[in-house]
């Protein structure tokens, strides 16, 4: 199958350039880029007025399979990813059983063969993510794990985290840390501040995240391990990361669309779809993570896509699980909240969604160069849509963005030279 | 129906007529009860209250004896609470004397369906057990829906159900007269 994507603007996230150029795709690879390309056999895709981007990668997704298929599975989760313009996702190991051994990683890889987009499993740091014994990291790597994390279950013991990082560094694996000191966060339901006081919900102080960010930066410095800090949410964390980077420590960081968009005010009315960990913070924190995105302190935008069945969220606030679905609203939020207001240029935004996450995980791709695999996302910066939870491809509909109008949406997702989504319709 | 949407059809009583009617009722109360020993007046909120106070004054002028006056709010005893659009505001019942063994005269401005009096009787019974309860009204306009009659009537006024009787008292309305109102259509 040959495709000629005509009339669009190619986004190069590395050179940070926008170039009006056609793209010719054949046999799953990018053949050629340039103006006025012609190929009589190729199906022409009109991309006039649209951005032709290297395929986006969401490096923080919960696909829930195996174990929680009622929330999401690899098939439904990757369909959501395709709809959201992602050509690949990295999935977190907090499944049941936990992806702490090669068998679970292999199972995910095998299931992913028929998935709509690429799937890169992340292995656990400790057995059962219990924070005690190290996993067989070499085995995990051999089976296809692209990084290691105990996401959702922070490694509380500093000594264990120290050894985890020493061992992962030996194998050249990135450790992704979910920074949360459980003794500070204990029982917390939302950000600790004026809103938690008014609602009478136990708060999670910003310090619960920041002390762990500080700890893990020091441990990364001590061990030389590549550290990636997941879902950073506070002003203090951004400052610590900025300082660490200035000192040359191998640390990268991500922020979610909900953390650069929403504040703890979204919880008012006990909205369980705004219950997420780390919690939605103050406006000052939102401004700080946006500044971190702008000045490059924060490398990656990832969704922390965390599906939960409607009945799990349809309960009293404190009984609801943390998390929200993000795959299908991410690009819209990036364009509406970051690109349009001028916080990020289009190449910068695309870099945080494609090039940087690939660099963090050591994956190829991320640029539209001849010979590269044809993973391509086309984004229409002027297309608007109102978010309708019922229409989400994910099995779960737990989004706080219902009825939000988003402008700047993915209009084509091409994986390995196959179109999986076109003009907001799934083809798989 | 709001009184503002109605137009005045006729005046039934002027201030002098009202005074004459009340003085006559005061005489009748004294006569019927052979004096006013053990008699107490209970005004039904709102316009029954100033009427009861006036009757007490006339009785005192005639007999030289003061009769106690209580105030009854019947809101909590209404039989139409479930059908009204909004809960009517409840006001306080102020009956400072024991009603048990008393000869009570309930006082209200207009006797119509009888439902207000029914509610007032229930409210009184919750306060104690009077010896007798009598009913005094300034206007009886007919159309009873339950078997209740007044013992003392200022004026009988035949009306149609479309009409409204408006008793206006200085204490509440700043004027002293009774009028019939009618819809404008």
């Amino acid at each position: 199958m040959r495709f000629l994507i005509k009339g669009g603007t190619i986004v190069d996230p590395v050179a940070e350039t926008l170039t009006e150029s056609d793209v010719l795709v054949a046999n799953g690879l990018i053949v050629e880029t340039g103006k006025e390309l012609k190929d009589p056999e190729a199906a022409v895709i009109d991309a006039t007025g649209r951005y032709v981007c290297p395929g986006l990668l969401d490096m923080h997704v919960h696909l829930r399979e195996p174990g929680y298929e009622y929330k999401e599975d690899i098939q439904s989760g990757t369909r959501a990813a395709a709809m959201g313009g992602f050509t690949a996702v990295a999935c977190m190991p907090n499944t049941n059983p936990v992806a702490d051994n090669a068998a679970v990683i292999s199972f995910i890889k095998q299931k992913a063969r028929h998935a709509a987009v690429g799937v890169y499993p992340i292995g656990a740091l400790t057995k059962g993510s219990q924070g005690k014994e190290l996993t067989e990291m070499a085995d995990l790597k051999a089976a296809g794990a692209v990084a290691l994390s105990d996401d959702g279950q922070p490694v509380m013991d500093a000594g264990t985290m120290y050894r985890v990082m020493q061992y992962a560094a030996m194998l050249g694996l990135t450790v992704i840390s979910h920074c949360e000191d459980l003794s500070l966060a204990a029982g917390g339901q939302m950000h600790e501040g004026a809103v938690s006081t008014m609602l009478g919900l136990k708060g999670i102080p910003a310090a619960a995240e920041e002390v762990m960010v500080a700890r893990d930066i020091l441990l990364a410095e001590a061990t030389g391990c590549r550290l990636h800090l997941a879902h950073i949410s506070t002003e203090g964390s951004v400052r610590l990361i900025r300082e660490a980077k200035a000192r040359g420590i191998k640390v990268t960081a991500e922020v979610t669309p909900h953390h650069f968009t929403l504040t703890d005010e979204a919880v008012q009315g006990f909205n369980t779809n705004a219950k997420v960990n780390p919690p939605l913070r103050r406006q000052a924190d939102v401004e700080a993570v946006k500044e971190g995105l702008r000045d490059g302190t924060i490398d990656v935008i990832a969704t922390d896509h965390a599906p939960h069945a409607y009945y799990e969220k349809d309960v009293e606030f404190q009984y609801a699980p943390n998390g929200l679905v993000g795959l299908e609203t991410a690009v819209g939020l990036v364009f509406t909240r970051l690109v349009q207001p001028g916080i990020l240029t289009v190449p910068q935004a695309v870099a945080k969604l494609s090039w940087h996450p690939r660099q963090v995980l050591g994956l190829p791709g991320g640029r539209l160069t001849p010979g590269a695999v044809a993973d391509i996302t086309v984004i229409d910066p002027n297309l608007s849509e109102v978010v309708d939870p019922a229409k989400l491809q994910s099995k779960s509909k737990n989004t706080p963005f219902a009825r939000w109008k988003l402008t700047g949406l993915p209009v084509m997702t091409m994986v390995n030279g196959n179109i999986v989504m076109q003009e907001r319709r799934l083809l798989v | 129906m709001n009184e503002r949407d109605l137009k005045e059809k006729a005046q039934i009583l002027d201030d002098k007529g009202m005074r004459r009617a009340l003085v006559r009722i005061a005489h009748e109360i004294i006569e019927r009860n052979k004096g006013v020993e053990n008699v107490a007046l209970i005004g039904v909120r709102r316009r029954g209250v100033p009427l009861a106070q006036r009757l007490a004054k006339y009785i005192s002028d005639i007999e030289g004896t003061t009769v106690p006056v209580g105030i009854l709010d019947i809101t909590l005893y209404r039989d139409d609470l479930t059908t009204l659009a909004n809960q009517p505001q409840v006001h306080q019942t102020e009956v400072k004397f024991p009603v048990t063994g008393k000869k009570l005269v309930l006082v209200d401005d207009v006797l119509y369906t009888g439902r207000t009096v029914r509610a007032a009787l229930d409210a009184i019974m919750d306060l104690g057990r009077p010896e007798v309860v009598q009913l005094a009204v300034l206007i009886d306009r007919g159309h009873r829906e339950i078997p209740i009659r007044a013992d003392y009537v200022g004026k009988n006024v035949p009306t149609s159900r479309k009409e409204v009787i408006s008793v206006r008292l200085t204490e509440i309305d700043g004027e002293e007269r009774v009028v019939i109102l009618e819809g404008t259509e």
Binding site: Q189, E192, G193, A194, S196, T197, M198, L199, G200, L201, K202, G203, G269, F270, Y311, D314, V315, E316, F317, Q318, Y319 | D73, L76, Y77, L81, T82, T83, L84, A85, N86, Q87, Q89, V90, H91, Q92, T93, E94, D122, A123, D126, L127, G128
Partner: protein, 312 residues
């Protein structure tokens, strides 16, 4: 002015006019409680369920008496011994009660926001009888009724709330209600038991009890739970009592006719000296009577006609 809300979930949402309507309606209700025959037929045929997921003898009996004085039928459901204990969701419990024809659900629940959640699930009126550490609106209304009765008005008064503000739904509802009515609210307690940014609710924050009591018209003393010591939130009841206990000496700092209130049950000798609790400025027992009156008023207002359907 008519009551328009389907539910009473908290004082945060209420307007001063609505608060006044409740307090004004409680005045005639209190007269009924003083009668020999404490009963009116007002809510005949209406049903009120008290759904209590936390034990509370006093609040529950106050609501049940209020309902019975107005002739409503009442049923009490406790978390233990019901389907709740079998893991039924709150929505399903609510729908079951609705299917049985319940008009009002009075709920006490350990989770903040539970009343608001239930109110969204069911058409019946929901009265929040305390949800987690969020709100306890009927307690605050009875506190305000008591203050208004004694002081004539709430505007311009200074009210100190003393104790574990962090875990107190009573404090939160009082802050919302009193500040709306023009009173100044001061909160004082150990730094570990003061929630962050409570100034944004309109309260003034103190950590020194003497400063907080200076010239106040009302002292509302909260219960301190031993459990909080075990959680490491304060060192000992002894030290708590020494720093924050309300005794005769400290009362000299208040306005001379200041009222002493306590939502109960009291830890005598800990947060409040018995001399103060039973002294001539204490209105603690009147609070209990007024609680029934205020709850009668709310039951009356919330069972209004067909059009009482504007939720929240």
């Amino acid at each position: 002015m008519f009551w328009q809300r389907k539910d009473l979930l908290g004082l945060r949402q209420l307007t001063p006019e609505e608060i006044n309507l409740v307090l004004d309606t409680a005045v005639p209700m209190k007269e009924i409680i003083g009668r020999k025959i404490k009963k009116t037929p007002t809510l005949r045929g209406r049903s009120v369920v008290t759904l209590f997921y936390e034990n509370s003898t006093r609040t529950r009996s106050s609501f049940e008496l209020a309902a019975k004085f107005l002739s409503a039928d009442t049923v009490g459901l406790s978390a233990s011994g019901s389907s709740v204990a079998k893991g039924e969701s709150l929505r399903d419990t609510g729908l079951t009660l609705t299917a049985m024809g319940v008009d009002v659900v009075v709920m006490r629940h350990p989770a903040s926001g539970a009343a608001e959640y239930l109110a969204r699930c069911i058409p019946a009126a929901v009265i929040n009888a305390g949800d987690g550490t969020h709100e306890h609106p009927t307690q605050a209304l009875l506190d305000m009724f008591t203050i208004r009765e004694k002081k004539g008005s709430l505007a311009g008064l200074k009210v100190a709330i003393v104790g574990d503000i962090l875990h107190s739904r009573v404090a939160r509802s009082n802050i919302w209600g009193l500040t709306k009515m023009g009173a100044e609210v001061r909160v004082v307690g150990p730094a570990t038991l003061l929630p962050p940014d409570i100034e944004q609710m309109g309260a003034r924050v103190y950590t020194e009890v003497e400063a907080a009591l200076e010239g106040v018209d009302v002292v509302n003393v909260l219960r301190i739970q031993l459990e909080r010591q075990q959680q490491g939130l304060f060192p000992s009841l002894r030290e708590y009592s020494r720093l924050f206990g309300i005794n005769q000496k400290r009362l000299e700092l208040t306005a001379p006719d200041a009222l002493i209130m306590h939502p109960g049950p009291m830890n005598r000798g800990v947060e409040i000296d018995p001399q103060v609790a039973y002294g001539n400025r204490s209105v603690i027992n009147e609070q209990v009577t007024n609680g029934v009156a205020v709850r009668m008023a709310l039951l009356y207002l919330l069972t209004g006609g067909e059009h009482n359907a504007i939720s929240h």
